[in-house]
Structures are given as C-alpha cells and as structure tokens.
Symmetry: C2
C-alpha cells in the first residue's frame, strides 16, 4: 500500500498515473528535461497550451515537488522553472514514451521528421 498525504494507492503505477493524469504535465516535464525554462519559453515551445492552463499545471507540478519555481525580482517579471531531483528521475519514463511513440507511428501512421532526441 502506498500513502501520499492521506491518499491511498494499491500500486506504485497508480501513484504515477495519479500524478500525471492530464494532457499537459508530462509534456511540460519533457520540455524541462534539457534545460530550465522561463514561463514564456514554455508557452512558445508548447504552443497548443493556453496561458492559464500552463500556470495551473506549473502550480500543480510545483505543489507535487516535481518542479522548482524561482522568481527574479525584476520588471518585466522573470520566473524560471526547473526540475527537482525527483522530477529529473522522470527522464527514463519519457524516453520510453518517446520510443513507443515512434514504434506506434511506424505501425499506424507516418513519420516525416523526427523530434528532438534526448541526449
């Protein structure tokens, strides 16, 4: 049994699924893997996400200790997001997602150009 602030899980897979139960969080992690990023950089790179959703998801990730938020006292504002230690440990998972996405597209779709590789 797994307990995370009064929430019970039967299995550690369920823990992970519960943390990332939406369209955006893992995509954000993916973009933070190579470098820390400013808010506006994430907005540009994940262009389909709206500003509000991005702020909401970043807050959720921060609350779950997956990312770290650093505010610079300057104008216009500057806020930099980076992965925590546990956040960085998501890299193998995302690499598997990367690989499976390619396998799946090879079977049921078409690849015209590959996306960035993780180092």
């Amino acid at each position: 049994m797994y307990l995370i602030n009064d929430k019970e899980f039967k299995c550690s897979v369920t823990v992970t699924l519960d943390v990332f139960n939406d369209r955006w969080k893992l995509a954000i992690i993916w973009h933070l893997l190579d470098n820390e990023k400013r808010f506006k950089d994430l907005r540009q790179e994940i262009s389909e996400i709206t500003q509000k959703t991005l702020t909401v998801k970043l807050k959720e990730l921060e609350a779950k200790n997956i990312i770290h938020r650093e505010v610079f006292a300057q104008v216009p504002p500057k806020v930099v997001y980076s992965l925590t230690n546990i956040g960085k440990k998501l890299e193998p998972l995302l690499q598997e997602m990367y690989k499976w996405g390619i396998d799946y597209t090879k079977e049921f779709g078409t690849i015209t150009a590959s996306c960035k590789n993780i180092k």
Copy 2:
C-alpha cells in the same frame, strides 16, 4: 512530424501522450501485461473504475490497436481482452512508471506494502 490518421504531432512523446490522455488506459494495460483477462476480471482488479467507463476505455484501446477483443459465443457471455504486439511494447514504459512511483512515494509518502512486480 508524426501523422496518425490526419492528426499531426510535433514529437513522438506527444503521440504517446495523446493515446493515453486519461486516468484509465495505462492502468488497464498494466493489468493486461501479465495475462489476458475477461471483462469481469478487469472490473474486479481495477475496482475504482465503473462498468461503463471500463467498456468505453476498452473500446478506445481496441480502436487504437493496443488491445485485442475476443468474443466467445456462449452464455453468459465471455469476452477476453489481450494486448496486441504494440500493446506489449508498453511494458518498459509501465515498468518505469512502477519504479518512479516507488521513488516518489519514498520521498513524499509512505510504503506499507509493495504491489505486484513485473516478471
């Protein structure tokens, strides 16, 4: 660029995220990894899911070629679900989810008993 029936993706990670954009699909796969299962078995093992949601999610997974559905002509009905080849290739991904869930719980929660291991 990745193309799957007229839907475009910038990155193969996005492809994977798009296939599994809900709470349930990967949990279902997880339970099908060790064995094919009947509908009622899945209902019992993933006890939090409702019957309707389970049927919907199984249909979606079948439509995406991740699982295979076999109907036996008998009464009461018997329907067995199993992973396709591409579905089986999700095992490493789920293993990473399994591992990360443990890491995360160790840091921010409590483990009282571990869930089943993948062979």
